[in-house]
Symmetry: C2
Subunit: 320 residues, 2 copies
């Protein structure tokens, strides 16, 4: 091991292994700390899966070094430039592990939590330098999915957030920077909002699972890759944009919102969705569906990256 | 004019002109009836826009005949095989125009309404053969957007729905067939469900418009083109699929649903979204954004069509 600074990934589970591959594949020396002896195998398997994906996305550094795995953080000899925490969603565990790591860090080294459901304000309590703690939430798997959601509490420093943003941007990620933190961040909240209505339509017998899937995959998602949900209505307003849309159709939108469903996941609903999903899968098991998804997503991610390079992009990066 | 049967499009506005181009471009002789003298220009402009799009999608027939425009339905000399109604969203108007057209039709000729907000049960009242009436709702523009949502009331005949489904499938459309009709159909309800949360996140200052747009365009939409919203959680359940997901995480999903916003489009919210949209547009006016959208969507539609041909498709067509 050289004395170059490293990124420390805390936790070698699904998300930690995915982060480690992302950092290491992007040319950043990376160490994963996990006391579980099986972590090393997980890190290696994930690395082997991630390398061709990163290559396809043109995000693989030349001659990248695979992540190194250690059982305890005391084994890390290099200076640590950035910490990415990827422990289970257990607040006590996160707090105690991070408190034990903090003494090894320079006072301003950022600690980014991968948490999807906890807030920076909760996780940073107990740190000597709580201002260094932020949340950097990936979608899974981190080496394939482009977004990273950054947020902090009122205590989190602008400097920690900016250093995180620079790192993720340099790795090719699209950084979404929340103005204030919010449980579930942006991506999952938006996803669950749409899925609630999908479940309502299925549970009330309006359509089967396969047709609801197609309504999203064929009807909505292609347009949404080109323009986001608010731009859709901005363009629907003609030359005067969304202001005119609100004037002319705001009441109709509110009426539609009032008519949306609010289902519960009771036994009957879960059974109906489970059976419907099985029909929609047309005999393909989960592994086969996952393989199809991966093939299509990698091809699509390459295609969209090419479109971005051509400059014909609605969704520009921050500051461009 | 030959005596081959024609598709009659009733109303030559934005949607009617788009339908006419779709049918005519797909090789179906098409007549548009509209008393407004300006309709002919709209039909022609739309035809010229649609032809290269249909060609790019490989949905343009050889030597297609442009739609013919007439002022009154009495001018139509050919037999009518299918009626697509695209009048304004005014129930009285739709009923009275359709009642005046019905005597010219064979008893089983389907009448499909393009309505986005009215139901077949409402529109068919007053017809001599109400069973022929269904709703076939496109996304705009119909020649570019792939889905057509078909639904009928309890009175609507299976035959009328099947004839409509065969026609739209032959034109290359992806048909979503509702099991029972529902105000707003599938696509718009799902779109408005997600947008409600987007407005909530913007209105409460969690994120700016540009980052919410990116959360959808970059974070969610690419995966959703590969797999639909329920399949996402089916795969999150690992080998045991969505049944296991509901067992393990159903309560967390319900908690997230309970936390979603229910904003109103009051003045302050509309102003905030309008200003945020203007910042996100980065100086591009509506026409420039619309042109970007069209360029990207046509390229993406071609790419996705190629993927479907390759056979690596999660979202298979009905009956395949």
């Amino acid at each position: 091991l050289s004395a170059d600074p490293v990124i420390l990934v805390v936790g070698g589970g699904l998300i930690g292994a995915g982060w480690a591959a992302t950092f290491a594949g992007g040319g950043r020396p990376t160490v994963v700390v996990d006391p579980d002896p099986s972590a090393a195998a997980m890190i290696e398997t994930t690395w082997l899966k991630a390398v061709p994906v990163l290559a396809a996305l043109e995000q693989l550094a030349e001659n990248p070094t695979p992540p190194v795995v250690v059982r305890t953080v005391g084994k890390v000899r290099q200076p640590i430039s950035f910490v990415q925490e990827a422990l289970p969603e257990n607040l006590k565990l996160k707090r105690s592990v991070l408190a034990s790591i903090e003494p090894l860090l320079a006072v301003d080294t950022p600690i980014a939590s991968s948490s999807s459901s906890l807030m920076a304000a909760e996780i940073q309590a107990g740190l000597k330098h709580p201002e260094r703690l932020l949340v950097a939430h990936p979608c899974n798997p981190p080496y394939l999915m482009p977004t990273v959601e950054l947020s902090g509490s009122a205590l989190t420093s602008v400097e920690a957030l900016s250093r995180a943003e620079m790192l993720f941007s340099a790795l090719g990620k699209v950084v979404l920077r929340l103005e204030r933190e919010c449980r579930g961040h942006l991506v999952n909240r938006l996803q669950f909002a749409l899925w609630r209505e999908a479940i309502h339509l299925i549970a009330t017998g309006v359509a089967n699972v396969a047709d609801v899937e197609r309504a999203v995959s064929v009807g909505l998602a292609p347009r949404w890759t080109a323009i986001g949900p608010t731009t859709v209505f901005h363009l629907a307003g003609g030359d005067h944009g969304i202001g005119k849309f609100f004037n002319d159709l705001g009441r109709d939108v509110e009426a539609c919102w009032a008519d949306l469903g609010a289902p519960n996941l009771d036994e009957a609903t879960c059974r109906r969705v489970t059976v419907g999903m099985s029909v929609a899968a047309q005999g393909r098991n989960v592994a086969a569906l996952a393989a199809e998804r991966d093939t299509r997503m990698i091809a699509l991610a390459r295609f969209l990256a090419t479109q971005r390079k051509d400059g014909s992009v609605s969704v520009k990066g921050r500051g461009t």
